[in-house]
Each structure stands twice: as C-alpha cells, then as structure tokens.
Symmetry: D2
Subunit: 426 residues, 4 copies
C-alpha cells in the first residue's frame, strides 16, 4: 500500500479522477512519475492562468529567495508588497478609474468571500446576503452559506443561515433548468424588496460570479447583471463580484466584468493572482465601505505572502499590453469552432462560455465522467462541474501553446463524440 | 503618500505597530529598507519556527523550482507530497503509535478548524461545539464562532451560533481572571452534560488549545486536560486539539500535548508546518472519524502546496533527532531566568509559558503597548496578546542564535523595567 | 388620566383606532359606555363568527357553570371535551372522509402554528418551512418566522430563520403587486427543489392560508393551490393549511378549502372554534404524522378549555344543516353587489374575497385609515389590513341580521366614496 | 373505542396519568363520570389557585354573561378591563410602589415570556437571553429556547439559539445535582460578562423563576437572586421574573419575590390570574422599557378576555386583606409537618418548597410515577416534575379546605411510605 492509501484522508477527490502521481509540470503540460505527459485543460482549477512553472515567475521567485527577501510578513509592509500594490494600482485600477483599496486576508478564495460578507454586513447593519443558485463561493461556514451545491452544504452539519438564494440570470436558457432566470427575476426581486410584507428584507449585499464556473459555466446576461447592480443601489445593498475563478484574464480582459458596465463595491480575487500557484487572496473595496473596518478585525496568519507578491507582480506584466488578452480571445474562438460541431451532432450537448472558460454540457453527469476518464487515459486533464457534474469545463492555462490547445481539443472532441455515440446506441 | 497610505485597506494592523518597510530577513533577524536590523521575537505570529529564510529550506525550494517540480496540485498526488507524507508518518506519527490520517485543506489555520468542526458534527450528528474562553481558532465564520475575543466576534455581523464557551483550565490562577477555571470546571461540565434538564446537550466536540497563545499564553493544567479528554469520551464527543500555534516544536516537542497523556481525535496544524512561511494546513484525523468524509466535501483550491511540502519536508528533519528540541527547552529556561526577576520586582507582572512560548502579563494593555513600541524602537519585534492586549508574548524562531536571544531579552527586560517604573511613578 | 392612560402598555393598538370604552355586545352590535351603538364588521378579528354573546352559547355556558362542570382540565378527559370531539368528528370530519386526529394546545392561533411546524420538522427530519409573502401566522418566535410582515418581524430582536418565503398564488393580479404570483411560481418552486445546486433544499412543509386575511384578503387561485399540494407530495413535504381566520364557516363552508380539492396534512384552527370568543386552538393532523409525537412534547397549561368546548359544541350545531352557510354565501353576494359600484367609480379600488371575508383595497394605507376612522365616527367598526394597511377588510359575524349588514354597508360605501372623492379633489 | 382513543392526538399526556373522564369539580375536588371523587393537589398545573369553580367567580361570570357584557375585545377598552386594571393597580402595584405598566397578550404563559424576551432584546439591542438549568418557560419557539428540559427542546426540530443556560442558585444543595449552583456562580457570571475574551457577551436579560416549579420545586437562594439582580444592573441587562406558576399567592404573598428585595424589570404572569381557569396572560413592565414598544408589535387575537377580567377581578379580592395569604402560610407548614417524617425515614427523600408549592424529591422518576399512580387510585390527583420526573409536586388550590388537605396528605404519606419501603425491600 502506498502512503496515499495508508494515510491520506478519505476526503481526497481529484486524485481519484486522475489516478497517477505527478512529478513535473511546464506551462500546459504535466508529467507523471512514469514519464507520461498530460495536456492540462484544468490548470489547477483555474489557478494557473500563466501556466505551470511559468519561467519568468520561477526565475523571479528564485532570485528573491536567493537575495534573502522577506518570505512571510503577515500584514507588515515589505518592499515586495509595495511593488505588487503599485503595479496593481497602475496597471489595473487607475486605467479603470477604480478607487478601490486592496485588502489582503488569509490566502484562500473562501476567506476573501468571508471578508466581503463581513464588511457588507458591517457597512449596512443588515444580516442577509443574496447569492444565486449554482453559485460557488467556498467551503468555510460563511462562504459555504452562499455556495448553492447541496453536496457541499450538507457537510456543514449546522444550518446555513443569513443567505438567500435566487435564480441566476443566464444569458440563454440552460437545457433542463427551469429556475426561471432572466430579466423578470429582477422585477420579482425588486417587488420582494420593496413590499414590506414579502417576508424578505433587503440584503446587505448581492454576491455573484459573472460566470458561474463551478456551477456549470453559466454566463450572466449583461442586461440582467446591470439591472441587478441598479437594484442593489436602489435597496441600499452592496454589489460583490466574486471574480476568483473568472477574473485575472480568464475571459479576455483582467476582470470578467470589464465589458459589463457595472461598478462592484467589492471584488473578490484569489486563485490566479499569485501567478505561480502559491496562495494569495485580495479584495478590492471601495473606500467608503473599507472605512468600516477597524484594524485587524479580520486577520489571518498568511496574509503577507511575498513569494506570491513577487510572482503576482510578474503576472501583472501580462496586462501591461494586450498580447495575452488578444490570444485569450482568439483561443476562445478556436475552442468554440472546434466544439460547435459536437453540439450540432448531439442534441444533448450545449456549449457556453467566454474567452478561455468554456463549458460543454453533455446533459448527464455519468456521461461527463466517462469523457473525463477517457480523456485522462488519452493524456488530457479536464474536469466536470455543474449540477450532477454534467458539464465538462475547459479552463486551460491562458498561455497554452497552439499545438497543445489543438491536441487537447482533438482528444476532447474525439472522446466526446465516441461517448455520445455509444450512449445513443445503448 | 505611499501606496500603503493610498491603497491599503483600513483593516491593516501589524504595520501600524511596526511602522517601517521590511526588505530582508534571515533566521531571527529582519532588516528594513533603511538597513535597520530587528531581532524577531514574533516569528510571523508563530509561523517561522525554523527562522526566516531557513537556508536548508530555501535551497530545497530553489532546487525544486529549477527542476520543474509541480507547484500547484490541488489534491492530486505528486512526488513531493508523497515524500512529505512518508516523512511525517515515519517521524511523527509512527513513533507515537498514532493511526491518524492526513487531511489537507485550504492552507490556513482557520480552514483546518472549519474542517475539524464539520467532521465532528458529521460524525456525531450533533451541532454544538464546546470551545473555551480566551481561545482563538480563526476568522472564518465557523472558526470565528469558536474564537472567544469579542473584538473579532463583533465583526461577524451575524450571530455566532452552535458553539458554547466554558472556562479554560489554566495550570495556575491568572491575575484578574475570575472565570473559575480549574478542576472543578470539569465536574460542572459533566453535571451539565448528564443532567437532561440543564438546558445544554452534549457537544459534537471539545475544541481547545493546550496553550492559549493569542489568549494570553494560558497553559492548560495537565490534570484538567486529561479529565476533559475523559469527559469527552464519556459523553460521546470528539477531542480536537488546535495545535496551530503551539505545535511543530514550539513547546519542546513536536506536539504541544506530547507530555499530557491525551489522545486527540483530531489535531489541527498550520503555521509552522510549511517550514518556510509558505501556507499549508493539515488535520490529523483518526480513521474511524475520517471515514465519515465523502470525497471532496470540504475542498479548497490551494490544498496541494508543493513548495510547502518541500520546505515542510526539510522542517521534519529537525525532528529526526533531539538537537533542536533540546535547544528549545534550554532556551525556554534561559528566557524564564531572564524574565523572572521582572516578576519579582513588579507585582503586576506574571509570567507563563512552556518551551519557547512565554507570556509576560504586565496587567494592562496600555503598558504592554508601550513596551512593544519601545522594543520596536530599540530593534526588537515583539507583540502583545490576551484580554485587552495585556500580555507581551515571546515566540522567537526556535532556531534563534544564542546571541540574538540574549540581545532580545536584554532589550525586553530593560524596556519593561523602565515602563513599569514610570507607571509606578505616575 | 384614566387607568388606560396611566397603566396600559404602549403596545396598545386597536383601542387607538376605536377610542371608546365598550360595555355591552350582542350579535353584530357593540355598545360603548355612553350608550352609542356600533355595527361590527370586525368581529373580534374574525373570532366572533356566531356573533357577540350568542345566546344559545351563553345559555349553554351559564348552564355548565351552574352545574359545576370542570372548567379547566389541561389535557385530561372531561365529558365536555368528549361531547365536543364527538360532535366535531361526526359533523365535520366524517362527512369529508377526513381521518385526521384532534390536537389541542395552548389556546392561541400562534400556538397551533408552532405545533404544526414542530411536527412537520419532526416527521420529515427537515428544518425549513416554506411560507408565503403576505402570510400571517402569529407572533411567537416560530410562527413569527413564517409571518411575512416586516413590522412584526422587526420586533423579534433575533434573526428569524428556517422559514423561506415565496410569492403567493393569488387568483387575480393585485394592483401594485409585482411579486410574480400565479401558476409559473409552482414550476419555479419545483425547479428549485429538484435542482441540487439551487442552494435551497426541500422543506418540511408548505404553510399557507387559502385566503390571506391579514395579508389583504388575497384569495389563492384554485389551480395554484392544487399544484402546490401536488408539489408538496412530490418533494416529500407536508401541506399545512392555516385556517385560523378563514375557517369555521367564514367562506361559506366549514373549511375554506372545501371546494379546492386539496387534502391538507395538518389544518390549524383557532379563533372561531371556541364559539363565544373564549380561547381555544386545535390542529387536525393525519394519523401518520400525528404518530410522530411523543406524549406531552408540546404542552401548554390552557389546553383544556371546557367553556370553549361547551360553546364550541353549540357552534358546531350551525354546521349540522346548511342554513347558516347558505346565508353566508348570500350575504357575501350582497356585500359584493353593494361595493362593486365603488370599484367602478374609483380606479384605485379593487375588491377581493369569498363568502363573508371581503377586502376593499383602496390603494393606500392613509386613505384606508381615514375610512376606518370615519366609519367609527358613524357607528361602524371595521379594520384595515394588507401591506401598509391599504385594504379595508369586512369580516362581520356570519349571523349578522340583514338590516345591520345593510346599514353597515351603507355607512362604508358612503364614507369610502366621500374619502375617495376628497382624495381625487386634493 | 372511545372518541379519545379514535381521534385524540398521540401527544396526550395527563389523561394517560389520570385515566378517567372528569365531569364535575368544586374547589379542591374533582368528580369523574362514575362519581368517584378526587382530592386535587395539582390544581390544573397551578392555575386554580382559588379552587375549581370558585363560586364567587362563577357567579360574577354568570352575571356578566347574562348582562350582555363584552366577552371578546382584542385590545379594545371595555368596562370589565378597566375594573380589572384599576383593581390590580390599587391592590397589587401601588402598595409596592411598582410603576409597572400592564401588557396583555395572547393568553398563555409562553406568550408572555415571548413578549418579555422581545422587549428585552429591543430595549438593549442585544440578542442573548440568560436562562437557567431546570427552568421552564413555555413551548413556543422563543420561550422554548429558554426552557431547559431536553425532552421539550428536542421537539423543536430546529436549533434553539440566542439563549444561554447557567446553573440556578438553589437555596440548598439538591441531592444528585452537581451543576455548581450557589453564590460563586454569580462571581463566575460577572467574570464572564466583564472579560471581553470570555466568548460570551452580556445578555439582553436574565430570565428566571424564583422557584423552579416544573424544574423540581427548586427555591432560589435569596442572596443569590439579589446578587443576580445586582449583576443584571451592572452589565445593562433586564431582570425578568417568570412568576407564572408561583405568583398569584402561591408562596404566601402575591408575588413570589415579595420577600426577596428585588425589583424585576418585567414580571410574567398567567395561569392563576384569570381566577377561574379561563386563559389570560399579562406582563408587568417598567415604563422605561415598555416605551420601546411600537403599537401592535406583539399582537394576538385573544388579548381581551373579559371573562378572565371578571373572574380575575374577584380573585384580586383575596389580596385586599391577609386572610388567604395567612392560610397559605399555615397550610404550607401543615404540609411540611406532615411530610417531614418521610424525609427522616427515607434517605432518598428530600423536601423543598415555600408556601403552598412543595416538592417531594424521591430520588427517582420511576418511584415518583408509582406514587402518582397509586395516589390516583386512592383518590388523589398529584403530579411529578423535575429531571426524570423524580419530584412529586404539591400545588393544591390555595383555598383547599382543611379536611381535604389532611385527607390528601394522608393518602400521599401512606402511599409514599409504602412505595419507598417496597423499593428498599426490592
């Protein structure tokens, strides 16, 4: 028995899907200890936007380590943190006229969501947060209350209160979903929050992803999200965008909402912002709300991750010009072009997405599972998401070489076609 | 205005206490950008047990980065993770006959506590957790419910339910504390849990630190903690030890409870286990409880931190022999010998601790604040904790050179003596 | 200063609306201490279905008192209780093939709702209850969680959890209401409860009034309520009908749902069932759910109100034949005929109702208040309800003499017309 | 099968203990339908302080009914209500210099507790209420949170939050109880509420019975209750006395706390105040807290029970002079004199109480059950209470004739002695 069999917790999951031991990694490829290579369309669940072991970043980190730079600093000031904050402000915030401040917390996405929820409650004096069906926001108790999936919710062991879920406003109907999303949901929400006998009081905040990644790559309708932002203002609620998985360039611009004409009060970031896959989380908060914090009210030991500042600083270079974002948009089209024929051939298949996050809804979790397993056998790492795991999700490194993208798509298309045909024949 | 003034969140705290910008660090010393050196008795809030930029670790990490090892792996298997798990099992668990499994989660202490609470609730079908006054367990909503400090609790914005607090069993009375700790508290707890009309039902778990670090370096009485462990068994509750700050060698052996004759069902670890200050968290869970997990029920993006596995693996070397632990015990005595005269001269001063965590209770938060500030001016980083911040806490790197320890103690003793005299004169 | 000014709690409310001191009452009339008579269209908030001081009932109660019958009996058996239970079973349950058992509890409507909620949670092992916007179910903490009105909810002082509110399915659109009621709400609910990522798990029960009385006389659509009952079965939830205000003959048959083809698992009754206005509450519970109770789990001192059994027994006589119910239906038509012209003359007016509960929505709470006040001056007791108090509600005694009904309607019509014209002129 | 077997809810309880059908009642005697008479030491769970069918009261009620007085009036003013309020103010409040206002609510004890909890939360802006182990405060969700007994709590089906339980300060140690009551519990509470790191914030109110009736006739120590009242003031919490079972003369004066030198902010009354056993509940509230109510925030249909005002007014006559209270104190001594020998003969027996509430703790619920059953057979109605039902509780009508009291005590003493001897022999 290996040590994994002997001693690893029964909670292990991805290692069941990808039953091997990985040893090396480079950009969009991982190599296991037997030397077998895999193209990676999963990218560490959306962390590795700039590829495994991005060489510009590893070089910077090695330099930093060898120079004796401070590695761990809580929320003390360091020169590395200053460089990161200046770069982020100049490259990302100022061009967008965003006045937001930067808050660092425990280096996990769930922690950034917890901090955002706390602040919204503090700033409004209200308790309820509105989140949306199919939303995913994390696993710690506060964030879990906002996560919609019952499998995760059932693990809480206590009631998950103070969050209400409503239907998400997808940009087009999802097959099999009758939650009633779309524009009329906003009118209903407004009616609920302005009728003092609805039983439901206005929330501290509306918390949402612009694209529900774990929820099955559900893309918010632009009109819907604008109307929601407007409603939030009307009823005195904050708008919190959880851009943890789809921010940092994933959709073809830094923020997923850059083309949505909304102005979130808080933006939650994590995953990709540390560049190299070392942990980091950061909230962008408008000063008028940030001022509600008292010093140290939401602490955490690993707030000052200087290796992440160093690698994250290199990552910001990718946003100093348009090269990578152009590639993302082009690659996104390449993906759609390759997958669209599948949707035309198989009625059950539905394709959603934006930039380099694409969902291939095959209508059934068991089918998706087969596709994922056969892809793995053929050297492609890919994962499923959505209700019952029915959506195969593509989130490769944004830096993926063309040939890797093509090869990965070839495997995926062939496997999917074969699995769907076998299903139809059965 | 610096970027910190312009853009850093109002929540910032330690940088207010240490108003400078750090640039380099080496073992027990940090250097700011003006070249001023500081001896570090704070060690990143107990993370850097093996010193800043421990050279054996940075070398291993640099090698790993240059060899193209997998950096980020979620909960997939990697060769680095295997090495870590094997080393931990051989060095730490087997010699203690501990059958516990290793669970990795989001790399923060708060996340490990959340996971432990979930599992205890799942395994018992109960909701309440018992935690203790002055306990600190984290900032996310589940862990925050167990954290006692009102300043942190008030930031929740929602009621913190499903945790009940009782008095902690200190090994000696704390000046000014009348919470009624000590052995009789166990009889009271047993009475509460066996009287069906007490209004309080038996909990899923008792969650405690053996030494309440943030709570003011309160050391649990050995008889009390054994009786508590016994009570937990009697009433069908799990015993969870949060060893996040005082484990990993801090008290002179790997676990803080190695000499307490208790057998915790779950041990929460974080902070020091990543060796270098890169994030990592791990729970040790008895198999009979671990089996209650279903795959992936408590996930998190940054579960597979291979740089932490690599550095953490080097950290485990320190436990292959007794050298470091012997030094910790000796240094602990050195500290006490140096500080004891202060307690003899100043009635208000009370000293607690074990190994290399020592608390200097000066009886008043404002005095402690002055001491911390004057130490900073004189080149010593140290922090306060406990109710109202009245306890100056010493948690230097375990690897601190003798001369740094002496020099730091000299500063601390002199500053404390001077502040206490001025106070007496005022 | 009167004793009321000196010593009555600031919470007093109806006595502010009707500023006099009542002395005598008889069927549909009350007389104040100055001898002024009032026609009563309010009937003790729907308690006095059989009129004030119903002479058959007072005679029976006087006889009972003079014979030394047991007055207070907790849940012990008495001969009076037996007579009541037998009469109720023969007259009400058996003709409808209802197998329900009778549960008596603390003699308030809110207590019957609390008991129903407890039992539904016990029987299903679930925590959430679904209630509906504009629903009213009581003031104690459990029932208050289901009551929609924010004014009442705000008085709780603690979060009201474990109840979710959805839009009620009115039989026609209510002016100014955009909550999105109607048939499609059922499809949405079904989608929510069958999508494991909606964030919302199936409830223990759906709790509703067939006509939301306090909510503004909103009448449920028959198709909607049948679909809801069907959905409850599909998702394993109980159907609880709160018939406290609109049962007991108010709509023209004993239960408000007699013509709706639904089969509620629990029916909550109170108000009118004690006949004379002495307190009593009773739940009808299907045996398969009732069996989940253990003895005495939901107790209450005043469960055995024998004066209410005696008067309530006389009240059941009214259901041994069709005379009263025919009168109710005819009187209901008389009311509508009289009020309909108001709706035709004033756009703002909307009329809803069934049998002898009729709502006159005048579109604005201040207008309704004026109407209520002028009616009082002219000798008519009537009250307003609904969001902001915009609906004038008619719930006279079912036994009201024709001339009193006519006279009351004359006052109401004239006052309303005058107030609406003055408003239009302003 | 009788109608009770066919149709009464499985929740029935007292009718299982007293398996007969009662028909008549007079002062301290009930007669079943077979003509068998029972002496009543239970008095409707403490409702019938003035005896079954008190003739002065039934006469007044019959007069009132025959005169056409208003029976049901919500919170409108009636002449009967005025008489009651004036009498109560003159006889009870003014002689004690109590400025309290009278608040009427739904006519159950649980409802009065709910109202008190709401108001305390409103007035302080805090959520937690402190209640005490073995306390009983009702069955609706808010009051149930304060009730200690797990059997009742388990029926809630949802977590009971926002109430914390501490050990009650009995005037002498209870056999088998190790909850640690007594004076030191106050110091512990003060420590908890003044230590900002205890994990427990000061409550909105301390809610307690001066004698825990259902909890096993546990009498509060006078020093303890005064210290608690003092602590409440110090930490800004209200003091709420639930005098529902032990007020209204039960202990030998109107309030149970008349000799305790405390000044409660809210007093909850119900049970006996309606005189005849018709429902009524009333809170006495200091004006400075009562002013926090907005009109109608805590409503209820049966707030204006004029039959209870009429009978309750007669009941107040008993407090216009000292005759009845003198009798209560004398009868209390008679009871103790009769029972004391039992305690001397049987080690397991412990006697507690004050005035005409006396507990005979026989050490074991099964023994108490046998005693209750044999007493019933021999014509004595008596009930058990306390943890596991181990305490036989005597609460006869205060108006009990001497011969009935003697005869009842004879039965009880003989039965108890016999059961205890058989137990000892077994």
């Amino acid at each position: 028995m290996s040590i994994f069999e002997q001693r690893e917790s029964a909670i292990k999951a991805y290692c069941r899907v990808y039953p091997t031991v990985f040893d090396k990694a480079d950009n969009a490829r991982q190599t296991d200890e037997n030397g077998k290579q895999y193209i990676d369309f999963f990218a560490g669940a959306g962390v590795l936007n700039f590829g495994h072991n991005n060489q510009r970043m590893t070089a910077a980190v090695v330099d930093y380590l060898q120079s004796g730079g401070v590695i761990h600093s809580l929320d003390m000031h360091t020169t590395a943190k200053r460089r990161y904050m200046e770069h982020f402000t100049e490259t990302i915030l100022k061009p967008r006229n965003m006045t937001h401040r930067l808050q660092f917390m425990g280096p996990t996405g769930t922690n950034s969501v917890e901090a955002a929820m706390k602040l919204a409650r503090r700033a409004t004096g209200r308790q309820d947060i509105v989140a949306f069906s199919h939303g995913f926001h994390g696993m710690t108790l506060g964030a879990l209350s906002a996560t919609a999936n019952q499998y995760f919710r059932n693990a809480a062991g206590v009631p998950l209160n103070h969050v209400k879920h409503f239907a998400f406003g997808c940009d087009k109907p999802c097959p099999g979903c009758e939650l009633g999303c779309g524009m009329n949901s906003i009118d209903q929400l407004r009616a609920i929050y302005t009728d003092s006998s609805s039983g439901i009081a206005p929330p501290a905040a509306f918390l949402l992803e612009t694209i529900q990644a774990e929820g099955g790559v559900k893309v918010a309708d632009k009109d819907w999200i604008q109307a929601l932002a407007q409603l939030a203002k009307e009823v005195g609620s904050l708008l919190i965008v959880d851009d943890i998985q789809v921010g940092m360039g994933r959709t073809g611009s830094f923020f997923s909402f850059d083309d949505l004409d909304i102005d979130p009060d808080i933006v939650c970031l994590a995953k990709g912002i540390g560049g190299l896959g070392t942990p980091m989380a950061m909230n962008l908060v408008k000063p008028e709300f940030d001022d509600h914090w008292s010093p140290g009210e939401h602490t955490g030991t690993f707030r000052g991750q200087n290796l992440s500042f160093v690698a994250g600083d290199v990552a910001l270079d990718y946003f100093d010009d348009d090269a990578l974002m152009n590639k993302v948009r082009q690659d996104g089209e390449t993906v759609l072009k390759k997958l669209q024929p599948l949707a035309e051939q198989h009625d059950a298949i539905n394709i959603t997405g934006k930039g380099m996050i694409v969902g291939l809804d095959v209508g059934d979790g068991d089918l998706a599972k087969k596709i994922v397993a056969q892809c793995f056998d053929q050297g492609l790492l890919i994962a499923s998401c959505g209700t019952g795991g029915r959506v195969v999700k593509l989130i490769p490194p944004l830096t993926i070489p063309d040939e890797d993208l093509q090869q990965g798509l070839d495997i995926l298309a062939k496997v999917t076609d074969s699995v769907m045909h076998m299903e139809a024949a059965a």
